[in-house]
Amino acid sequence: MRRDTGIGVGLLAICGLLYWQTCLISAPPFIPIGPAFYPRIVLILLAGLVVWLIAKDLSPRRRPSPKTPKAAGPAPNYGKVLIAFIVFLGYVAGLGIVGYPIATFFFVLGLSWSIGPRNVRELPKLVVIAIVTTAATYLIFERYLYVFLPRGLLF
């Protein structure tokens, strides 16, 4: 299956699911246009566009791909992106458990270590950066701008 077709099928499934959800919306009988009216228009429009995308993707008259090789350069490093997403996911999950200061310290240290050169001699520098970032943002936002940062079970 081609990529755009795959995305299209997924989007059509979402449209179908949400359309079914609109049938469950309860609305007072006396109003001419209920709360399900607009979402349905949007869903039908989206489904129509997705069908267009699929048709275009499957059409034999697709734009020919250039024969020239892709621009020279390093291959995308998806491993690094995946690590960054996982570390960030851990940070977001950890914010509500251990609180902003602890979660932020470990996040800054963990992410900079995992996407950086991973040199042990760099570690003290990264620890200092993590401490400074955590302390500076905490002090600026909590003390001076009165923006209350996430509290955990401990702090």
Partner: protein, 509 residues
């Protein structure tokens, strides 16, 4: 006039003045670092403005916007990498000029052209925004609905890769706004029983996720980029005669005014932004030049065209934002969010009911330009090494600030999850060729489109009014023209590509 003068003087109050300067400096630094866009910088500034009075917060953001548009030229001229997409065309002549041994001339031509272009755009900003706002006050729900449809059609049509993907992105944005309680009767829709979704997805975490997280992840995937350091330092001689530079700019009045007008117009068009303005202005300067073959070799015309247009673009974006409550680009989208946070409803009534803030914004825009020159001078003299920070240090700090920005909106952790989810979605969209700007615009306009559509139908069930009311009809007709034009442009490009491929195949055979 008295109000305008008073608000201008208020900006010299120490806290406001300091905020404006800080914003400009943040913009310059953010703009000068390749990979950190102005949108990203303004997103990072946002949480700092939560605790400020509205005018102070908005002045800070205008400072970031103006500073960022010119900050991008520093790396464009000195290392050949545009700090922001809006400085892309500056690279074409700025970097060759530096290679010729004139880095100071390249940078200062850009800075002065930015300031002059931006100041020229202040005139239509002050008069245009107010006049357009008065026009928009007379709009009914039919006109608003048509205006929003026109906006969406323009933005979706401008999607670089595929029209249908641009449209899907825009309609998906509309779909996101249907989740939560409906705007007229507050009946929950599409929430799947989740309490958090009852109020719908908040706009700012979506915006921060879509642009911020996806941008960082896109940068990280470039192998080795995380360890990369920028190479410029103090080795450049930046000394120039400022009088000679100004004279050089004013020696090209046609180029200067044309580029300013292009920037202004592109800024007024919703969600197009400085990245298109600078390329278009550069292209027009080249076409209008007596010696187009010299473009790209380090001539001042190219730098002036690019930089005058991208700062004029700021004025244009502010016109659209202040007159209609529609963002001219992602940066003004964040500013709209900031207005809402401060309890100010954007739209045509904004200029009328919040005149001191509106005039304060005009004044901040005007004052930001001369201040930008002074701060760029200080930056070039003392702070250039700041932008040498490697990506692996910058990325975690940026993400922490994005988290704070998302959380601080309502002090709930669910907003951070929204930021994360839409960040993943944004990255997936980038990788699959779906443009981000139409989605954001769909999210911004979704509730307004629904409200105005239903209000129009409830006022008068005759749906032909959308076409027969003059302004509404004109705007819907323009939507069709915009859509048809995009379709025709793409069809022509495909035909050309097919013809080229056929010719190539014949030759090979």
């Amino acid at each position: 006039m008295e109000l305008a003068l008073n608000t201008f003087l208020i900006l010299f109050e120490p806290t406001l003045f300091l905020s404006l300067c800080t914003g400009i400096l943040a913009g310059i630094v953010g703009g000068a670092i390749p990979g950190i866009t102005i949108t990203m910088t303004i997103i990072l500034t946002l949480p700092f403005t939560f605790g400020m009075p509205p005018l102070q917060g908005l002045a800070t953001m205008i400072g970031v916007y103006v500073g960022g548009e010119s900050g991008g030229l520093i790396s464009a001229c000195l290392i050949g990498i545009p700090g922001t997409p809006s400085a892309m065309a500056t690279t074409f002549d700025g970097f060759p000029m530096t290679r010729k041994g004139q880095p100071g001339r390249a940078v200062w031509l850009g800075i002065w052209a930015s300031a002059i272009g931006g100041l020229l755009a202040a005139i239509p900003l002050v008069f245009g925004a107010v006049q357009l706002a008065f026009l928009a006050v007379n709009f009914g729900p039919w006109e608003y609905f048509s205006l929003f449809i026109l906006t969406l059609s323009i933005v979706a049509g401008l999607a670089e890769q595929s029209l249908v993907k641009g449209l899907i992105s825009a309609v998906f944005g509309l779909l996101v706004t249907t989740i939560g309680t409906d705007p007229l009767m507050a009946i929950p829709r599409l929430t799947f029983g989740w309490e958090f979704l009852r109020t719908g997805f908040p706009f700012l975490p979506i915006l921060i996720g879509i642009f911020g997280l996806s941008q960082i992840m896109s940068d990280l995937e470039k192998s080795g980029a995380a360890q990369e350091e920028l190479r410029f330092g103090r080795e450049f001689n930046m000394k120039v005669s400022h009088l000679a530079i100004i004279r050089e700019i004013f020696a090209q009045p046609v180029n200067l005014i044309r580029s300013t007008l292009i920037g202004l117009w592109i800024g007024i068009l919703p969600a197009v932004g400085g990245s298109a303005a600078n390329i278009l202005a550069y292209d027009q300067a080249k076409k209008g030049s007596k010696h187009p073959e010299k473009f790209g070799t380090g001539i001042p015309e190219g730098i002036i065209a690019s930089e005058a247009s991208n700062n004029a673009n700021v004025g244009g974006s502010l016109i659209t934002m202040m007159a209609f409550g529609i963002p001219g680009d992602a940066v003004t989208a964040v500013m709209l969010g900031a207005l809402i946070i401060h309890g100010i409803q954007p739209g045509p009534m904004f200029v009328v009911t919040n005149a001191p803030i509106a005039y304060g914004m005009f004044a901040a825009y005007f004052l930001a330009h001369p201040l930008m020159i002074v701060l760029e001078w200080l930056f070039l003299r003392f702070a250039l090494p700041v932008v040498k920070l490697p990506q692996y240090i910058l990325a975690p700090i940026i993400l922490v600030l994005c988290v704070i920005g998302s959380f601080a909106l309502n002090n709930i952790i669910e907003n951070v999850w929204t930021f994360f989810i839409f960040g993943v979605l944004g990255y997936a969209m980038v990788k699959t060729g779906f443009p981000l700007a139409p989605l954001i615009l769909g999210v911004i306009l979704g509730d307004m489109i629904e409200t105005n559509y239903i209000r129009a139908i409830m006022t008068d069930s005759d749906w032909t009014l959308f076409f027969t009311r003059p302004w509404s009809g004109v705007m819907l007709a323009l939507s069709v023209v915009s859509f048809g034009y995009s379709l025709w442009q793409r069809h022509r490009a495909e035909q050309r590509a097919l013809a080229a491929a056929a010719t190539e195949a014949d030759v090979e055979f």
